[in-house]
Symmetry: C2
Subunit: 266 residues, 2 copies
DNA sequence: AACGATGTTTCACACAATAAAACATTGAGA
DNA sequence: TCTCAATGTTTTATTGTGTGAAACATCGTT
């Protein structure tokens, strides 16, 4: 689209493409990898050799097939599960904030609480509950209810058997109504709430799917109800769903967008 | 100490060294990384750019510091915890088998059972209990007892409150004696047993430490007691301990051996 | 025994990775 | 406010190095 300048260094990029290919389908041989990536055998061989010396790929004892190496596991463990999610979400959160001009929150569940992984402050200064590192309730707030809706039934039961604090007059504390709300969230695939956690605030939340297909987090747009008309409701919802989809795609094993195989001719 | 042939492709190797450096110490800037790796700023910059485009490194919103990216987490998760251990151990197991000519087993704990991750068959054909993918008891066998010894006290209590099957006349089924044995294992830092799981077999087991410093697995040398004299007892023990240490080092965040930084200081 | 497929090695050339240095930007301190 | 120092970014020339093609070796199969 724009930049004629390409700072990518090709050899490294190809090596990373190789790793992605191995993650996507392990136990491939040199020829198979070369074919599917459009590289020559000798190149793949040397890339694999380099990666193997550092433990980033591992070869079968039978000396035939390759897979991701232990070092990837070690580094990945170092990052932690939240780290991957957080870093995958970061640029998307920035974009979502710029799009909506509202607050953006990334929230996960932690037992019977929620945990705010990161936030982006919108243009308008409004103090909301969400703040990075903070724990919150599971039964109030756009992202919280969404996470609860997609949690294991046993978690839902446990959460609903606790006392349900009313943070505002609009907080749903009736268990039957709460279960109804959860059902509607699952039917819709998103959640929109008003005033239930922070008085005067709306929240539009969308679900983020992890590599294993389960819902692992929520991203939400939040701001003052005064600015929340029908048009914004639509646009924020779409933006949140798109953002959630993009993060989910990044976290999927197939990776974002094209897998970057640069086609040379013939 | 042999092959002058170097198939490593330098650019890729440097990129991997960069990743290791970031894993070792995150939130570094271009200059700092360049200095500690002995590379030029522009090179580091372009490496980081390439890695970032694929999500293998992530930059702070404040546009200053870098860390491992989400894609590493995704690929690492794909490998699984056992995968990293298994692949790190593979070549070491091969070497250990070649050194000792005996069977080699890699075992982890799974609840109140053990799980055999991988085995290597020694030169002499002897059928032992261990077989990849198999579950075993926690109170008999060289690796099993070792894992139990280093397990959480609650796990030990739970394991000892079960009925303790006597696989051979030599299996320790007396709970007090078992606890004594565990204590001695912890004092020694290894475990040697004879005939307690497989009649006529010895087992010399050493503990493998994960990245977090806890003992996560056992590697053991096993064979027929007929071949187990005092000299072999010593050599096998040393070999097993060395192998365990090497695997542990591979799994540590600092990585195996030198981190490949070519020192050139001014 | 001959084949076909695979992994491995060699080699020469073009181009892409590299280092050096100029430039831009930021923040600190006087 | 101005200056200085440190950092990230960009440019450019040269060389070294990554690259593809093709030869070679090593299997397993028919």
């Amino acid at each position: 689209m724009s930049e004629p300048k390409d700072y990518k260094i090709a050899a490294v990029d190809r090596a990373l493409a190789l790793l992605e290919a191995l993650a996507d389908r392990p136990d491939q041989g040199v020829t198979s990898l070369a074919k599917s990536l459009g590289m020559t055998k000798s190149l793949v061989f040397r890339l694999l050799h380099t990666l193997e010396e550092r433990g980033f790929v591992s070869r079968d004892p039978e000396r035939a097939e390759f897979a991701l190496g232990y070092r990837i596991g070690v580094l990945g463990e170092r990052l932690g599960k939240d780290g991957a999610l957080l870093y995958a979400a970061r640029p998307v959160m920035d974009a979502l904030r710029d799009q909506t001009s509202e607050n953006v929150n990334l929230v996960v569940r932690e037992g019977l609480k929620t945990y705010v992984l990161a936030t982006r402050a919108g243009r308008h200064s409004i103090r909301l509950f969400a703040q990075a590192g903070r724990n919150g309730p599971l039964h109030a707030g756009g992202g919280s209810l969404l996470l609860l809706a997609y949690a294991d039934p046993s978690v839902i039961d446990a959460a609903l058997s606790q006392p349900l604090e009313a943070f505002t007059p609009y907080t749903i504390t009736d268990r039957a109504k709460l279960r109804q709300a959860l059902e509607r969230i699952r039917a819709n695939g998103y959640n929109i709430v008003l005033n239930d956690l922070d008085e005067g605030a709306f929240s539009v939340a969308a679900p983020i799917t992890g590599a294993d297909g389960t819902i692992i987090a929520s991203i939400s747009v939040a701001g003052a109800v005064a600015r929340f008309d029908e048009e914004r409701r639509e646009s924020h919802l779409r933006a949140a769903l798109d953002a959630a989809a993009e993060i989910s795609e990044r976290l999927s094993i197939h990776g974002p967008g094209e897998n970057g195989l640069v086609k040379s001719r013939a």
